[in-house]
Each structure stands twice: as structure tokens, then as C-alpha cells.
Symmetry: C2
Subunit: 606 residues, 2 copies
């Protein structure tokens, strides 16, 4: 089915919105009236521009407060409509959205509404235009899709149909089953929007908090299946009013929008992108740094050993157990200080994972490799982190028939330097925490879910001394891959966006002691925190003293325990040592405010 997006969903002037929609691969657009009013382009120029971009204009919207009004008011409305139909002819738009009236002049009289909408449709037909009548969730007398449809049916005019909007239906708890009662050809348009499940005034919810399908809590796939079953063959169109998207870059929003629609199409059998290939583990985390010493100092104190060097690039492999950290001192590091720039994900089918990512519009990164290097497929996550799909050690890529299989094991690109890991306390990477750009928190979760096939956990609020953070983890079923996506309280530069690598250990006390003995500095934790621990949990005195001495934080959930501590921060990056016992599933969010305050206190200035 064709895909479309309302211009109101994207930021900037109309021309930028159109370009963004076309580049993201949409087939058409809804022209939102305010965008037309504000553009210096004439309607004919907009028509030509959309055509040049390969876009159709699928809808002009909205017309408001038309129906069920006294005759003299309706005469004024028809006069207004005639102006708009003339405009639509110039624009080349053949469907107009009419929202159910919110006017105090409107009366509760379905027969009058049907009669006047029929008259409007008759006028529209003279211009070759169809009228799609939609129930606003806060319409004065008409606020359900069933009611709007019954008026359309009563009017019985061929140029009058209904428009379904998933927000207006689902926000009021409507049952989409009744959609089956509407003939597909009388559904003139379908608008799709999701929304987070928050209890609030429906008008405010609609105007500020809509989001793209899969970013909120509505069952859009269920609704869409009902619509498809009617025989509807019009476009799937996204109409999202969102305060954050209004501030975001239109090109990125359009790509996120189209990805969300692709995922919805996949869920309803309308599209069949390559199946997701869930990563099985973290092959490596790659730090890019202008100065390796502070980072390698920490890695060494944590028990990592430099085991290999890349054959063609200034990249060292530091290893401990199954935890691998690449330290890259190449040119990229000169730009932004020390950052976690890339993550290697172990995949049972790296090429398949890359095909999935590409089909869902993830930017595929050019392979910057020497001819002898293993073929690493990589895409960019919304925050710019490079995600490499790596084979498991010893795996080989399928080639053209007859060729010898190409080695997939990225470790073959590295030349051992002779040092063997000496058996420290770290076993693997437990999770990676990546702070997202402010505009892209919901997109980031959808990206990791849909592109990588990870599951998103609940979003949690975390109080920082200077604002609320939000955090949401995406994980594979067995916890082999865990990524904690975070976002700060407001737009802020990259420097404020910390990232961290959490290292799993079976003995966090031993690991912390070893780190300190080797000269490492752990983040100091206030004594008051431990007094509170003593009040909340019955820990042995010795245990508590040990935590207090080392700065180890403690948490417990219904299934297990979590002990963790933090190194100092280098550039944007710090490390965490974590010990999970008994199936603890979280990330110590309870302790995050104390950690954040301690990190602020440790930062010079502010």
C-alpha cells in the first residue's frame, strides 16, 4: 500500500518537509493548511515541486466546523469551502479532510449534518474533489468513528466518505472491530498515529504527544488489520502532532516515520522485509580517543590486557574474559574527545542482519577496511553509534558458489601482541549505556527493537541534580545483548551525553579491590547512601562496610541482587563493574540519582 505523511509531522518550511518526505521514501503527503499559508510558493508551484519529488498530494486538511449549523452559517461555510476547493484544484489535491464540528453553533442533529455534508460533497464533486469526514475525539456532537460513518451513510453521496484516524479512535478507547461494517470504498482516508498511554485531556494529548506507530502504546496493527479487511486501498498516512518532532530535523524525523510505518506494515503482513537477526552477544565496544593513556590506564587497572593490534589501523584490542574493548587512536578521535563510537554485535547471520537494517532505512556505513580484513557490515544507530554485525569466532561468510568462504571472524584482522589475558575478575560486557540525542529517545527504542530485534523494557525516570533523565533498556531474550538508552532533561551538547561500558563480574568486591590496588579511582559514594542501605536492607555489617569502603552500590529486585561501582569519567566515557546474582533484571536505576550527583560533584567546575 502507498504511504503518506502529513506535513504537520515534520519541522521547518514546507519545501524542507516535502524534500524530507520524498527522501525517506514516502509516496505522498497530506498538505496541512497552516504549512500552505506560511509558504511563499503558490499552489501550482507546490504541485510542481511535489511532482518533481515523486510525491502525490493525497489530502488537503483540515476543514473545520462545517456541518449541523444554521442555514446562514452553512452558507458562509459553503462560501469558504468553495475558496478551498478552488485552491485544491490549483494544488492538484482531490481529497479534503472535514473534521467533525467543535463549534458552539453546531446542533445535535444527524439528519442536518448529513444533509449539509451532502451539499458540501455535491459542491466538491463539481471540482473533482472527495470529502473525507472524520470524528474528532473531542467533536462537539460527533466524536466516534461509528457516528461519523452513520452520518456519511445517511448522506449517501458518492463524493462523501469517512476518514479514520487511529488516534481519535483509540484515545477514547474505541473498539476498531466496527470498522468491518464500513465498505472499504467509503473509507476515503486512513490516518495513523500512536501515543504513549498517559491519562490526560484528549485534546492536549493529541496536539502535543502523538508519536509514530510502535513508539507509543496503541494496538495499531490490530486496527490496521480491520481497515485492510474492508478492502480499503488508500494510503497509510501518518499524522503526528508532537512538540519534540516540531523541533527535530525534518530529514531524520521522516526516516524514523517511514521506518515505523514499515514495521507496522510488516506486523500486518503488508510488507515482508528480511527477518530480524537477533544479536547473540557483544563482540566488542570501540572507544575512539585522541589520547589512549587515560583509557588504557583504566582498562589495565580493571585487569584488561592489550592482546592484539589491528593489522592496518591504529586500533588496539584490550581483552579480559569475553569482554573486548577496542581503543582507536585514529583520526576520528581528534574531533570529539574520548567517545564510545562503535559496538560490535555478534550475529548468527551478519549479512542478514545488515539486510534487515538496510531494509528498515538504517544508514549503511561504507566499509572502511583493507582487502584482507573480514567483511564487517555496519549501520549507524540514531545517536551515530556505529553498529557492526560480526560473525562468531571461526565463522565464515557464504560466497558466490564455488568460492572459498570468506572468514567472518573480525579478530583475524588483529595481530596478537603476545600478551595473554591474566585472568582478572571481568567476564564479559554486561551492558552498554548510550545517551541519545534529546529528540530521538522514542526513535532510538523503535530502532533497536525493529532493526536489531531486541525487546524494549519499561522507561524509567531518574533524577539528576540538574534535571530528570529517562532511561530505557533494549535487550535480547537471554541478556546476551543489553543496551540502556538514556536521554537528558533538555537539548544539550554532545559533551553532556555520557556513555558507559558496564563490565560483568562474579566478584565485584574483588574486581573493585584489584582496580584500586592497581591505582584506579572509583567514583566516591556518600556515606549517607550507606546509612540508607542499612535502613532498607538487612545486610551484614561487614558487607556494608566493604561497600562503603569501595563505593559499591546495592540493589535488589524480586529475583536477585545487583552490586555495582563506577570508574572516573574520561571524555564522555566511564566504566561500571556489575555483579548480577539470582536473575536480577534491572540496571540499578534506584541508585542512579546518587551516581549522577557524585559524577556532578567529581566534575571540575560546572
Amino acid at each position: 500500500m502507498r504511504t503518506s505523511i502529513a506535513t504537520v509531522s515534520l519541522s521547518g518550511p514546507l519545501t524542507e518537509k516535502l524534500t524530507a518526505a520524498a527522501r525517506a521514501g514516502f509516496d505522498g503527503v497530506e498538505i496541512f493548511e497552516n504549512d500552505l499559508l506560511a509558504t511563499p510558493l503558490a499552489p501550482e508551484e507546490i504541485r510542481a515541486r511535489t511532482a518533481d519529488l515523486g510525491l502525490s498530494i493525497d489530502l488537503y486538511q483540515p476543514m473545520r466546523d462545517i456541518e449541523a449549523v444554521p442555514p446562514e452559517e452553512f452558507a458562509r461555510n459553503l462560501r469558504r469551502a468553495r475558496h478551498k476547493f478552488e485552491l485544491m484544484r490549483r494544488l492538484g489535491a482531490d481529497t479534503v479532510l472535514v473534521c467533525s464540528s467543535v463549534s458552539p453553533l453546531a446542533v445535535d442533529d444527524d439528519a442536518l449534518a448529513a444533509e449539509q455534508l451532502g451539499e458540501l460533497a455535491a459542491l466538491a464533486r463539481d471540482f473533482g474533489i472527495r470529502v473525507a469526514y472524520e470524528a474528532l475525539a473531542w467533536g462537539r456532537h460527533v466524536n466516534t468513528y461509528e457516528h461519523a460513518w452513520s452520518i456519511v451513510r445517511a448522506a449517501g453521496h458518492p463524493a462523501l466518505g469517512t476518514c479514520l484516524d487511529s488516534f481519535h479512535i483509540l484515545a477514547r478507547g474505541g473498539d476498531p472491530k466496527g470498522i468491518a461494517d464500513i465498505p472499504g470504498e467509503k473509507i476515503f482516508f486512513l490516518q495513523l498515529a500512536d501515543a504513549p498511554l498517559i491519562a490526560m485531556d484528549v485534546l492536549q494529548w493529541s496536539r502535543h504527544y502523538r508519536c509514530f506507530p510502535g513508539q507509543g502504546g496503541f494496538d495499531l496493527a490490530g486496527l490496521l488489520r480491520h481497515v485492510i479487511a474492508t478492502g480499503y486501498r488508500g494510503p497509510l498516512s501518518l499524522e503526528v502532532f508532537n512538540d519534540v518532532f516540531r523541533q527535530a530535523e525534518a530529514g531524520e524525523t521522516a526516516v524514523d516515520a517511514r521506518r515505523s510505518l514499515l514495521v507496522l506494515q510488516e506486523a500486518t503482513g503488508l510488507a515482508r522485509p528480511p527477518a530480524p537477526v537477533v544479536p547473540t552477544g557483544v563482540a566488542f565496544a570501540e572507544l575512539v580517543t585522541p589520547d589512549a593513556a587515560p583509557v588504557t590506564g583504566i582498562l589495565g587497572a580493571l585487569g584488561f590486557t592489550r592482546t592484539a593490534r589491528h593489522r592496518s589501523k591504529p586500533v588496539d584490542l584490550w581483552q579480559q574474559g569475553e569482554a573486548r574493548v577496542l581503543v582507536n587512536t585514529g583520526p576520528a578521535g581528534r574531533r570529539g574527545g574520548t567517545v564510545l563510537a562503535a559496538v560490535g554485535l555478534e550475529s548468527p547471520d551478519p549479512a542478514g542482519a545488515a539486510r534487515r537494517a538496510e531494509s528498515l532505512l538504517a544508514p549503511v556505513l561504507p566499509r572502511r577496511r583493507a582487502p584482507e580484513d573480514a567483511p564487517l557490515d555496519a549501520v549507524a544507530a540514531p545517536d551515530g553509534t556505529e553498529l557492526f554485525f560480526c560473525g562468531t569466532p571461526g565463522s565464515r561468510a557464504p560466497q558466490e558458489e564455488g568460492d572459498a568462504p570468506e572468514p567472518l571472524d573480525w579478530t583475524g584482522d588483529f595481530e596478537p601482541v603476545g600478551d595473554k589475558p591474566d585472568g582478572g575478575h571481568v567476564t564479559r560486557i554486561d551492558h552498554l549505556a548510550l545517551t541519545q540525542p534529546w529528540h530521538q529517545f522514542d526513535e532510538a527504542a523503535l530502532f533497536h527493537r525493529s532493526v536489531l530485534g531486541l525487546s524494549a523494557q519499561e522507561s524509567v525516570d531518574v533524577a539528576d541534580p540538574y534535571g530528570l533523565h529517562r532511561s530505557r533498556a533494549v535487550t535480547s531474550a537471554d541478556g546476551g545483548v543489553r543496551i540502556a538508552l538514556g536521554v537528558g532533561p533538555a537539548p544539550s551538547g554532545d559533551a553532556a551525553r555520557t556513555q558507559h561500558i558496564a563490565l560483568a563480574t562474579d566478584d565485584v568486591v574483588g574486581a573493585a579491590r584489584r582496580f584500586r590496588a592497581a591505582g584506579g579511582r572509583l567514583l566516591p559514594v556518600p556515606a549517607n547512601y550507606y546509612d540508607d542501605l542499612a535502613a532498607r536492607f538487612e545486610l551484614g555489617d561487614g558487607e556494608l562496610d566493604t561497600y562503603r569502603e569501595l563505593g559499591i552500590l546495592y540493589d535488589r529486585d524480586e529475583s536477585g541482587e545487583f552490586r555495582h561501582c563506577y570508574t572516573e569519567t574520561v571524555g564522555r566515557v566511564f566504566f561500571e563493574l556489575v555483579q548480577r546474582d539470582g536473575g536480577y533484571r534491572g540496571y540499578g536505576a534506584q541508585n542512579a540519582p546518587v551516581r549522577l550527583a557524585a559524577q556532578h560533584a567529581a566534575r571540575p567546575g560546572r
Copy 2:
């Protein structure tokens, strides 16, 4: 009565919160547990710090999920409470807040709740501590203040009382009249918070959207009168959870908080600051600029004449009708480009207005004047704009008895330069539009309301191509002073914060033609806007053509009409020509999206 503020209402580390509260003049603080956990100061050090600052610790909070639970759970709760009471002894805090339980373990059994709270109070008394039991609006079984009080009464323990929180009472639509039934000595604490009247989940509303008294929609004065009538003599304490305040500077928030409490105290007869002196008109708007030519070019084309020069400063007075614009090329202009730095307000009692402002904690600005200058009292608005209280022409300030009255007419500081205004179309300053810092939109409205005695109008949302703006006007009753306070969609630098001076005319067409003839450039308005005007209003063709030619925007309300157009922007400042007819009360908000889009389009780059 004593005033207090919860540390959670302010941003930053605990030490900064305490300093901010003390500097703003609060008598005490509530220590929020998370702030204590996150500080490196020991409880004894916090106690010493607050004492040094002249602050008492009026409350430690919160204790949660204590009451109406099975015995083994209650035993654990008592153990936890004992730890906290020990902590409070070190802290020197004698009252603890216990919130009604939200635990799934709690049962609906008032007798059990009373018995266990009584036991808790008995333990507290051993530490010299009082327990203040409060109904959370979302408490599992206890969620009204009447219910919490009935349990406290049933327990009958001298160390157990109730805590009233205006948010928890008013958010559920509770009737504060019943407060009269509680003996004042059993109200152990009073927490005050306002909130905007939005329909949303009460927990989210409470945790993210509380605000200071007078910034929201609750009748806090009504509630407070009931509390005072009981004989309550504890502190008036502000407890505000607000996402925006969490990001704001603690010192400014604390001052805004205390001002809001002073206004509430005034409203309930608990404080008698000097009465407000409502300004009667705008004496002048002062632009500070590093380069006068672009601004004076526009002023000249608008029909302004340079009529006088300040006797001691590089400031010119440009005048037309009753509109006066000062152009200051002094040192301040070299910092921030062209800005609207000061506003002169005509006041029937400038000294009284200044006393009012000072008593409400407005920063009083040093008088930077030569001995012969008129005494101008000035304060800083939250956005840094300097507000001067000016006498009306010819007025004289009262002096010490026997002295000759000092002239109050600021125009006497200016030396006429001989040019007389030539009678253009501008009659006066219609309004000033000042964009506020992101954190201070609500504070700005409260400041202008309480300090200047202006009335705040409804807040409106305005769509900009890159995000939503909000705008709210504060006005005097006769419209002699109108200030439109605006705020952009997110934190942004000063450069993005435009300001404008709207000039009233009885003939906007003539004024616009004159401006253009004199070489002025008006903001171009898209043709599509005028097609829409034609659809919405039956304007004569000639009228519409004239608007289209000149870029004049049009609006209408129930009482009148509004025609307006804009100059180009210089630095942060532009001018608007406005014609109000028939009692139109607004500011053309309907047209603001078109204006904002045109201004973005006119800006080079972006």
C-alpha cells in the same frame, strides 16, 4: 508565619539548594531524603550548614508505605524508621513526613493503620520526633485529608498529627472547608503547591507539573485561610516537583518561590507589603545597540524624529506622538547586539512602585545617573529587562520636609535637539513583546502580575516552523500598558529570543505606505495567506489587495478588528505597526505562525 521550602523544589547539590533558600529569605527547609543521600556532607554537617545560614530544618521527608501492613512487614518498617529517627537526631530535624501507603501489602483497615501509626509515633517520641501523616492523592486506601485526619484522631497519640498538602487536596477536587474540623495543634505541617489546571493522571501531574502559588490555577488563598483559622502556626512550606525548575538556576527559583509565597501571604492578610502601583502607560522603550544606524533608519522611515539627546549619556530620544524610543549607543550595546534593554513605565507613584517591587524581591538596580538627572527607580524583570518607574511629565517627587520637590520628569534629562515630530501615523506604543528565558515563563507572568499589578491573560500556543511557542499578555485595565511575554520551544541562546515594539496607529495602511516610501522594508507575507483571508472573511477586494500589497495581516474577534505588519529584524529587535478598531483585545496570535515562518525565511542561513 515562618516560610520554608522543600529541597526537592530547587536544582543542584544540597549545599547550593540551602544557600539559595537562605539568600531568598526562607526561614527553613524540608530536607528531601534523596538530596541527603546524594550529598557528601554528614547529617551533622548539614545541621551546622543550615544553622550557619540561619535556616531551620522543619521537616525530613518522606517515609513511605509504613501503615496497615501485616505484622512482620510492620516490624521491618519500624526497624527502617528507627534508622531514620537516628538520622534525624543527627540532623536536628524534629518532624517527619509519612505518606499514606501505596504498597500492595497495605490493607483497607483504618483501625490497623491507626494502631501502627500510633506505634510509630511512640517510637518517634523516644527520639523527640513528631510524625506528620499525609494523604497522597494516589494513596492506596487513604487519599483524602479527611481520611488521614480520621486515622490520626483514632490513633490519639500526641506525637502523631497530620500534614496537609494543597496539591493532594485540590488536585482531587477536595473541599478545604473540612480543614476547620481539625484542631490547629494536630496539623503538624502545611505544604503548599499550585498546579496548572490540566486534566491528567494525578501522579504524573504531581511529579512533573507542580508550580509555586499563583503560577497555577488552584485557590491556595482559600485553602490557606481555612488552615490559619484552625490556629495552625507551623511554617508555610513550598513543596514543588517540576521538571523545568529541576533545570533552572536554584538561586533564581528560590527568589521566585519566595515572591510567590509573599503574594499568597498578602492575599490572606499574613503580610502587608506596599500596595501595587499600576503603571498607566509606557514612557519609553530603550534599545541598546552597538550601531545606531539600522535602528534609526527604521525609526526614521516609521516617522519618528530624533527630538532630544541625553545630557550625560550617549542616548537619543526618538519620538512620534506619545511613542518614545531611546537609542542607547553606550558601552552596554557592545555586548549583545541590538536589544530592547529597558522599559520606562509611567507611574502615578514611582517611589511607591519601587517600594512594592523591592518588597517582592525584585532586584533593585543601582541608579546610574548624573546628579542633575531625574531620580529614576528601576528593577530588573526576570528576563533582565530593566523596568524604570517614571513620573508623568511635569511631576515632582516628594522630598524631606522643607526641601523643594525634585523633578520626576525623566524628559528633563534630555536636551532638545531642535527637531520637532512631524506628525506621522504612530500615536503610541501599543505593546511590547519580550521573549522570556525558557525556565521562567510562569515566573515572568507572576512577576508582572504581583510586582506591577498587571492582569495576566490566557496563555496561547503558537506554532513556529521549528517548535511551539507560548505567549501570555499582561496588561493594565485600560490597555495603557500591554506586555506580551513569550517563550520559545526549548532552551536557546539569547540570539533566538526576539523582542518587539508594537506601535499603535489609526491608519496602518497609511503608516505602512509611508514606511515603504521612506525606504523601509516590511516583512513579506505569502500570497496564500491572503487567499485564506478571502475564504475566511468577506473583505472588499480593494481592501484585500491593499493588505496583500503591503504585507498587512488581519484578525477579528467578537468586538473588533486588528490590522498589523512588521519591519525587518535588527539584532533581536523588530517593530510592528498595529491598528486596533472596535475594542479588539488580542495580539493577532492567529497570524503569528505565518509571521514566524516569514521571519525564518527572511533570516540568512539558519
